[in-house]
């Protein structure tokens, strides 16, 4: 507000006149009470619950004789530990017990639950936005770090531990200290063949896996505005790999068009009222961020990780650094790579396409585009695991499953699968995997497994060539 206007109102500048960030607005709208030490009791609009991080929370409720305060704000689904084999056969006994425990808990506590055989089942971070359960302006939590995905809608969404899951179940709130605000502005447009995943890996390589610690990152700039919702979700999803609590993209027409008509979203006049509110959320001009980073979109190339931390990544035509730290040396030894050596050309054994990072229909279309008329290289096992049953059905309606199956890919049921290797979808020791997931930690996809993170198109190129290659060299065909 300029001084002239302010004098018209004849009052000192108040808190409300101060330009606010999107994050400030989301935070302020959910503070129930500020505690003496400055932490806030924060109201939670949506709590997504899955089978792995909830059993001990329900057990805690039971032991204390507490109930779920707001089942109408809670949605449960099993995803991490479910078999993704066709027909869902081959579940391990302890996985079955975990699933059964979830089913017993949601029944006992009256929590809405999407059963495993429901077509809407899927990875919690895929189904939340897909069903319209996750909406702009909300606070969204889940006992899973990649809850940051939902920030793509312009919601404050973050992962919590099991004690906090119990806390939200019992109180519909969390005690939180306000994180710092960081903005990453991506100037210009991404080059053809460069995706949101490449942008995410580029940013993490720049700022490091602790670059966003203690922060909520708002992604801004032309390249971010140009992303579709799937791309924005991929970008926000990876915020946690930069150490951030959450990622955010301001809601805009792309967001509203995505949310409109989703089954659990407001409909009709209620939707219009919601949009009117959501339009007030973007950061005000002049709002102050604690930290600003600017990235030139033109500098982003298809990225591949070479090490065992998401920050250990490089452009496909770049390479592993010549001089490495002790940690990097250990990473290279684990990955069976040498300093100075590029990852391009490395032979791969397994390709994993899926996860909450890249398991949406847009990702599967990318893979099909590369796979069409080609075949999976000899000796390579390539899995496509849709992020949800609805993604799977959509892909089948578009005939993408046929393209992929004809090319020699495995077409599987929805779930987390080889992203974390909890169920039988695991790498064996020494196997090298081109993966569209988000973590390349030692043993993440199975003990001794070697993970290279990359985009769906790059993973598809790896599948059909048997090597890590630049997908742009393959030439991308259009879908018929």
């Amino acid at each position: 507000m300029n001084p002239m206007t302010q004098s018209l109102f004849d009052k000192p500048q108040t808190l409300f006149d101060k330009p606010q960030t999107l994050f400030d607005k989301l935070w302020a709208a959910h503070v129930v009470e500020t505690l003496p030490d400055g932490a806030a009791i924060l109201f939670i609009d949506r709590h997504l619950v899955h089978e792995v991080t909830s059993p001990q929370a329900f057990e805690g409720l039971r032991a204390a004789g507490r109930k779920v305060r707001r089942p109408d704000c809670t949605l449960a689904v099993a995803d991490h530990n479910v078999p993704t084999s066709p027909g869902r056969v081959g579940a391990e006994a302890d996985s079955v017990l975990q699933l059964k425990t979830l089913e017993e808990n949601v029944a006992a506590f009256g929590v809405p639950y999407i059963p495993i055989d429901d077509p809407r089942q899927g990875i919690v971070h895929v189904i939340g936005p897909e069903l319209g359960a996750s909406l702009p302006g909300m606070t969204i939590v889940c006992g899973d770090s990649h809850t940051s995905t939902h920030g793509a809608l312009g919601a404050l969404a973050f992962g919590i531990g099991t004690s906090e899951v119990e806390h939200v179940l019992a109180t519909q709130t969390l005690i939180q200290s306000k994180p710092k605000a960081m903005r990453i502005t991506v100037k210009g447009r991404l080059s053809p063949g460069v995706t949101a995943k490449d942008l995410a890996l580029h940013i993490i390589a720049e700022i490091g896996t602790a670059g966003g610690t203690g922060c909520v990152i708002e992604y801004a700039g032309e390249a971010v505005r140009a992303l579709d919702m799937a791309g924005r979700m991929t970008l926000c999803n990876m915020s946690i790999e930069a150490g951030a609590r959450a990622g955010l993209v301001a809601p805009d027409e792309t967001t509203f068009a995505y949310v409109r008509g989703r089954p659990m979203a407001p409909q009709g006049e209620a939707f219009d009222a919601a949009v009117a509110y959501w339009r007030t959320l973007p950061s005000d001009p002049g709002a102050r961020f604690d930290r600003e980073v600017v990235v030139a979109a033109a500098d982003v190339a298809p990225m591949v990780t070479w090490g065992t931390s998401p920050e250990e990544g490089a452009p496909i035509n770049g390479g592993v650094p010549n001089v490495v730290t002790a940690d990097e040396e250990r990473a290279l030894e684990y990955m069976a790579l040498r300093p100075g050596q590029g990852v391009a050309g490395a032979q791969i054994d397994v390709v994993f396409i899926g996860s909450c990072t890249n398991g949406r229909i847009e990702d599967i279309r990318e893979v099909a585009r590369v796979a069409r008329g080609r075949s999976v290289a000899e000796g390579v096992r390539a899995l496509v695991v849709p992020g949800s049953g609805l993604v799977k059905a959509q892909a089948e309606a578009e005939g993408l499953d046929r393209i992929l199956i004809d090319a020699g890919f495995e077409w599987r049921e929805a779930g987390c699968s080889m992203c974390l290797g909890m169920n039988p979808d695991r790498l064996t020791p020494g196997q090298r995997c081109a993966s569209t997931s988000n973590r390349n930690f030692e043993g993440r996809q199975g003990p001794g497994g070697r993970t290279h993170l990359m985009s769906p198109a790059m993973a598809a190129a790896a599948a059909v060539t048997g090597r890590i290659v630049d997908v742009r060299e393959l030439g991308v065909r259009e879908l018929a």
């Binding site: 129930v32 001990q56 004690s163 602790a210 973590r439 030692e442």
Partner: protein, 207 residues
Amino acid sequence: MDAFTTLTAVAAPLPAANVDTDKIIPARFLKTIKRSGLGTHLFDGLRYAPDGSERPEFVLNQPAYRKAEILIAHENFGCGSSREHAAWALLDFGIRCVIAPSFADIFHGNALKNGILPIALPRAVCDALMQDAAMGGNARITVDLERQVVIRPSGEEISFAVDPMRRHFLLNGLDDIGQTLQHEASITAFEQARAATQPWIPAIPVI
């Protein structure tokens, strides 16, 4: 949660940065529906060879550190997933305090909620403590939460910062839910106000 007041114990040096939660407790051990019993799989990949035998070079397998209650590591300890199993595994093994230059946010919160004290100290100080820890059973480090100091075997005191509310909860072994429920009236008022100003927020339907 057990209260944390002071702890005098052997500290195990783990000189690595970005010790992630998959390293602390790999996903295949997350199938449990209990909090207890995860200690045997703490650092599973580092601690055991593929045939299940112990790797003698791993610090917690060495006689001096089998009963360590303090862990000293490098930057960004606990990065990765939100699994509270990481904190439960440390606790089940007997670790009550982790000292590192920095911690990942979610792990930091999870640790505190389970009576494990994460202490962030500058890298140089961690390196000095790492040297103390290298003396194994011959050196004990004391952590005094009341006074907010770490006491080296030499007697030197190093003060550390801790969130005052968390300190209060730890010292008294309080759990968050009980505390929050004292504010129940505010929560109800908030819910009512929200339903009035944003009536368009839908309920999740019963499926």
